[in-house]
């Protein structure tokens, strides 16, 4: 029997790296120097920071290009980047730098942000803690999913991909250890789009994905066959 799934939660506080860019050239230079955590933070941790409704773009770089530089071309190119297409954050950094350098090459002048609209490179400190909730079986986990906070969803479904091999989420990693019976659930989880949505939307998607497994009916019908 696999070990219980301990449900954890996390809370983060934002930290300024002290690096800020007034124009695209400065941004490009700093992008090459800032800690990896800052790149990660601007792609993922915005989900846990305050934001108004759904932003137009999922990462902070694309949003800045649009709102402060008024450069829609750059914003679109940065906005489509899915960080999971890159094996490491350094590869992601390289890709970002290349896009920005291309744009600097194309531009007749260096795009500037007005005073007060600089790009500030941020990072964070994240505290992970046990919620006291645990699941013994995938069915129990399926029943718990609607009760989880969005930060718990973030920790187990998004942040996990930094910790686990093959960029796997914690739910999938654990459910796989229950064998073939739960393979359809594992496959369904792999189909859940998690980057281009808010945490509330992701939670809804997970609730739907787990819903058929809440009663245990799927597992039983497969066992009879």
């Amino acid at each position: 029997m696999p070990p219980y799934f301990q449900i954890k939660d996390c809370a983060l506080v934002t930290i300024s790296t002290g690096a800020s860019a007034q124009n695209l050239r400065e941004f490009c230079q700093l992008l090459q120097k800032v800690p990896e955590e800052s790149i990660y933070s601007h792609f993922y941790e915005g989900l846990l920071r305050f934001s108004f409704d759904d932003p137009e773009f999922r990462n902070d770089f694309a949003q800045w290009a649009k709102r402060a530089l008024h450069d829609s071309v750059l914003a679109e190119r940065l906005g489509i980047i899915d960080p999971h297409d890159y094996p490491t954050l350094e590869h992601l950094r390289e890709a970002l730098v290349e896009i920005v350098e291309d744009r600097l090459y194309e531009s007749r002048y260096i795009p500037w942000a007005r005073a007060g609209e600089e790009f500030y490179f941020l990072t964070s400190q994240t505290i992970v803690f046990d919620t006291g909730m645990q699941a013994r079986t995938p069915r129990q986990l399926a029943q718990l999913i609607p009760k989880l906070s969005t930060s718990t969803i973030y920790y187990h479904f998004i942040e996990a991909r930094r910790r686990l091999e093959n960029k796997m989420d914690d739910f999938t990693f654990w459910i796989r250890s229950f064998g073939e019976e739960y393979q359809p659930l594992v496959e369904s989880l792999s189909q859940v789009e998690y980057y281009f949505c808010s945490l509330s939307e992701l939670k809804e998607r997970l609730i739907k994905t787990f819903a058929p497994w809440r009663s245990g009916a799927i597992k039983k019908s497969r066992a009879k066959k």
Binding site: D9, A11, L12, V13, T14, I15, S16, G18, E37, F50, S51, F52, D53, G116, E118, Y120, L122, T123, S124, Q125, T126, I127, V128, F129, D130, T131, G132, K147, L148, S149, S151
Partner: protein
């Protein structure tokens, strides 16, 4: 005041939010936390601390809130300092600086035992900033909590102040673009409002009717309101100008409600200027409210149709947060934290001039359905991001972060 408990917040923020606070506070239960600022009443900092300290104690942290002891001459000096740090150029003679240090040295002695033994010390704003200088050997972590916009300080003053900030283990700014690159770790923590305080709790229609009568408001005319200290940065004269432009086209009434804080000696001068500007005006109500007027301010915000915060400089702008919480659209100056809270066409409008404010007021008065829609969005935005429970969570994470070292991910 009825003391509110953590459980009272559950109907508003949900059980999981309170459970998070309880879990996060476990490793620091029993730690001594001290907050020091310069006034017990008036202003956003005092309001936040009043509630936060109670709830942090309930979470098991031994939390104290102390206020520095000083005469009015000290506050005259620190007001100048405060303005200069936000960019105003003005002389700051050496004897003022000496007095600034002298008062802090006196307070350092007064609080020596408490501060020496504290595990975490939060020093709020520039007035008590020099305290760290008098504790070269200290036990705990000291954090400077800056509530003002420090992005463009007047250089001569900045040169005096910067070495004192460097003595702290960390600093906190409300917005990243208010910050200066000074301490080893710079946290970004927006302030918050307490949904259960006298200033923000729900009020009955009967009570609102009573207040409408007390303030002499005409129930047939829309109410425009600005709540703020009588301070030049809040541009009350600009608001009056905007209102006069609106009234040429539409009937309306304006309320300017404010009060002084004990650390703000300029208030009386500005109030006098405002009174002169509205002499003979029937539809403009100037309310100089004492500090204990939270319920009245709550009522005014609920009675308003549109709330203004036409500041020229602003910290975070908690009066904007309060208005959004009460489902009111806000027309605010395009500065400071107002930019973060007022989203054009969603929660209100950002403006740069009295003309801009007048234009947006007229637009909203012509579109009452938008007033409702924006109000609902604003309420939701505040609920998710700017309530006291989020603020406490950030402080707990910060304390844990400082306790366990500067790692990116800390597993309890």
């Amino acid at each position: 005041m009825i003391e509110k408990k953590l459980k009272d917040y559950i109907p508003i923020v949900g059980e999981e939010v309170i459970a998070q606070l309880e879990k996060l506070s476990q490793p620091i239960k029993g730690k001594i936390v001290v907050h020091i600022n310069s006034t017990r009443v008036g202003g956003g900092v005092a309001e936040i601390l009043e509630r936060m300290v109670l709830l942090m104690n309930e979470l098991g942290l031994k939390t104290y809130w102390e206020v520095i002891e000083a005469n009015s001459d000290f506050f005259q000096i620190t007001k100048k300092l405060h303005n200069s740090l936000q960019g105003w150029e003005q002389d700051f003679p050496q004897n003022w600086f000496d007095r600034y240090l002298e008062v802090n040295e006196h307070n350092a002695e007064k609080f020596r035992n408490l501060l020496y033994n504290a595990d975490f010390v939060f020093i709020h704003d520039p007035q008590p900033l020099p305290l760290a200088h008098f504790f070269p050997k200290r036990k705990g972590k000291w954090i400077w909590r800056c509530h003002i916009d420090l992005s463009n300080p007047w250089r001569p003053i900045w040169k005096l102040i910067r070495p004192m900030i460097k003595l702290y283990d960390a600093s906190i700014f409300s917005l990243v673009n208010f910050s200066q690159n000074i301490t080893q770790t710079m946290y970004i923590i927006p302030p918050s409002i307490d949904p259960l305080s006298e200033k923000n709790c729900p009020l009955t229609e009967e009570e609102l009717d009573r207040y409408r009568e007390e303030f002499g408001l005409d129930p047939k005319k829309p109410v425009l309101l600005q709540v703020s200290r009588f301070d030049r940065f809040k541009d009350p004269l600009g608001v009056i100008k905007a209102f006069k432009m609106v009234r040429e086209f539409q009937p309306a009434q304006l309320v300017l409600a404010g009060g002084g804080a004990t650390d703000d000696p300029e208030g009386e001068v500005v109030l006098k200027e405002v009174m002169e500007a509205v002499e003979g005006e029937e539809d403009i109500h100037i309310l100089n409210l004492p500090p204990e007027s939270d319920r009245k301010i709550n009522a005014l915000q609920r009675l308003a149709d549109i709330v203004l915060q036409k500041s020229l400089r602003e910290g975070f702008g908690l009066t904007v947060t309060e208005a959004l919480w009460k489902s009111k659209p806000v027309i605010g100056g395009d500065v400071g934290g107002i930019k973060l809270q007022v989203v054009n066409y969603h929660t209100g409008f950002l403006v740069n001039t009295p003309e801009g404010a007048a234009l947006r007021i007229r637009y909203l008065l012509e579109h009452p359905e938008l007033i409702k829609e924006m109000g609902e969005k604003g309420h939701r935005y505040v609920k998710e991001n700017f309530l006291l429970t989020r603020h406490i969570r950030d402080y707990l994470v910060l304390m844990l972060g400082l306790m366990y070292g500067g790692k990116h991910l800390i597993e309890l």
